[in-house]
Subunit: 381 residues, 2 copies
């Protein structure tokens, strides 16, 4: 495993932080999840399988759980011993909380001068909003992301998943992994500061860069693409199909398939710029042809012609799709009572040192004794 | 810089691949972007500043550009020399294309037995759909992600940014960084296989895990949260405000602030489960109070009470927001003609070895001579 020798003290809870440390755990790190006596609130969220939250199970595999009361002297002394022996510390407390607990960056550096300390927060550790409470939804709203979703007259729409939490978690994991690429003897104390809002802004892509170039935002175009046409969600005789026509070559293939190459002679459709200007008309031309047959039939025809296209799958269909199954994106794992519990799979596939399930998500405090014993043994040596 | 000694041969174009290699370049790697004589198609997408696509500029900083014709013997021989001397190779060709070019994993391993070869694609290198053409929009549709966005009767909606490309790029960068944490002498050839659809499925969070636990999908709830209430986008006297009430403590603070703690005595609102069941009614109670004042006033009151809340910013407002500016999420860089060109900033902030702008995005082939000279010099040694 790539991160086999790496030890991580994990003070995170709910999503952004646990998702970060799960990436590192999946890649081989020994992640010690510190939980208060009540446990990570995610243990109580969503439906359970044999007493274990399915949500918690999918985002906390490959970790060990230790219960410590960080408000007690004993608990704080133990966590400091763990930090002194760790490579990485991750937290997703509101800025200021670590300081108040006596775990400021200066204290952390004194405890462990080679530590990588990664802080995940809503707005970041600095700036006018640093002290504000935040949450995934707020980052979706304030990053511009929500505004980009939907048609011109629709209200702004959040994505149905906690995308800001997850993307911030990915950036945090990336920052930690890159920091671990520096050989340990050469490492200096490093404080990493990942903000959910920054993370979402970094993904604004052409929505941001058109502002840079023109001072104006691109129109909100729903399922269409603001820079390319035809592109979008079309109706078929029995449902929908998503078609992504990203360049002139693919438009040519699409018009050939739909037997409408004569449209290129129409000045409204001759170039991409013209088609974007006449978005509604070109959409109507394509739509009127696609409505004549089923999604499944069009899918085969379009893909055979090299045109990216797909059905819109609901979550159940996506999770049971043959490709999802083939890619092991759903893993059957043992449930606490010995039956089976599905969790999400590993998106990082590799030929060697691939992520594997070494441990299912731990019960609260499952490894407290084990880790305290390891600490005592390490002291004796 | 964390990845200072790392050399990357970058065969990617458009978004997912260039976003991956840009992360690694920002963290210090020497990224050699190989472009055909026509250049990366992204150079022609979106509006330009002094002849440079603003979109290309934001996703290709810190890289060097080399023009090679990979269909010529000379070009292929040069790229093989570069691969032999590299730590990492990244491509985002359709599966099969690398093999057809003579750059199969077996050939790559023969060229460089310590190489990290990272392949990014729509559906992955394996499985029933591996050979299908794909694109961000198709991954959004087939992963279940589009289905989660919107209200029950809305059609499925893609996000306004190429989220599947970007998330796949982040996973690819993470996989490469973790692989680089293995000391070079211990590295074996590694083939990494990142799929856009897998990447999006891994983010389905509670939308997936509720299926695992109950066999049913959660309802599509637009801007509300399927597991928590009240939560969502509310109207104020002059606009909207996003409020994320994630636990009972925050509900208590919200009801106190809105002077409606008596609602706890109503059995419909006493617990989170009850409030989720009576989503429309609790929304109406909260909405009727928020409509009485402005977004700005509520924002101060809510944040002072420790309740996560924020305005919905359009992209221009998000990019010019004081926090965005403070966090340097927009960087002013020199444009080709000497004027100024904004690009997106670095979401990874750290106290040492922080990402910096070492180079603006290169002109096509700007470093061809430089890199060919380096190759010749390396041979002489």
């Amino acid at each position: 495993m790539s991160l086999e020798e790496v030890r991580i003290v994990d003070l995170t809870r709910v999503i952004s932080g646990p998702f970060c440390t799960q990436q590192l755990a999946d890649l081989g790190a020994d992640v010690i999840k510190i939980e208060g006596p009540q446990g990570d609130p995610l243990r109580q969220q969503g439906s359970k399988i044999d007493g274990m939250s399915a949500y918690f199970a999918s985002f906390n595999r490959n970790k060990r759980s230790v219960v410590l009361d960080l408000r007690s002297e004993d608990g704080m002394s133990t966590v400091k011993q763990l930090i002194a022996a760790a490579d990485v510390l991750v937290d997703n407390f509101k800025p200021g909380t670590m300081d108040a607990m006596g775990l400021s960056d200066a204290s952390l550096e004194a405890l462990n001068p080679r530590l990588i300390a990664c802080h995940i927060s809503g707005f970041g550790q600095t700036g006018p909003y640093a002290a504000r409470p935040s949450f995934d939804f707020v980052a979706q709203a304030m990053s511009g992301f929500m505004w980009t979703n939907g048609k011109p007259d629709d209200p702004p729409l959040r994505s149905g998943i906690p995308i800001s939490d997850l993307v911030a978690g990915l950036y945090a994991a990336l920052a930690c992994a890159a920091a671990l690429a520096v050989p340990k003897p050469l490492r200096n104390f490093k404080s990493i500061d990942i903000a959910m809002t920054d993370s979402m802004i970094s993904l604004l892509a052409y929505m941001a860069t058109e502002v840079f170039a023109t001072g104006r935002t691109l129109p909100r175009v729903g399922n269409d693409h603001p820079l390319v046409a035809p592109y979008g969600l079309f109706e078929t005789s029995d449902g929908h199909i998503a078609i992504a026509v990203s360049n002139d070559g693919i438009v040519d293939r699409l018009f050939t398939l739909l037997d409408c190459r004569h449209l290129f002679e129409d000045s409204r459709f001759a170039t991409n710029d013209a088609r974007v200007q006449h978005r509604a008309e070109i959409r109507e031309e394509v739509q009127s042809r696609l409505i004549t047959d089923t999604t499944a039939t069009w899918l085969v025809r379009l893909n055979n012609a090299g045109i990216p296209a797909g059905p819109v799958l609901d979550v159940v269909s996506a999770l049971t799709d043959p490709q999802t199954r083939h890619r092991d994106m759903v893993l059957e794992t043992p449930a606490p009572n010995g039956s089976s519990m599905p969790i999400l799979g590993f998106p990082i596939k590799q030929s060697v040192e691939a992520p594997t399930l070494r441990r299912t998500a731990p019960e609260l405090g499952q490894h407290t004794d084990e880790i305290l014993r390891e600490l005592t043994e390490a002291e004796r040596r």
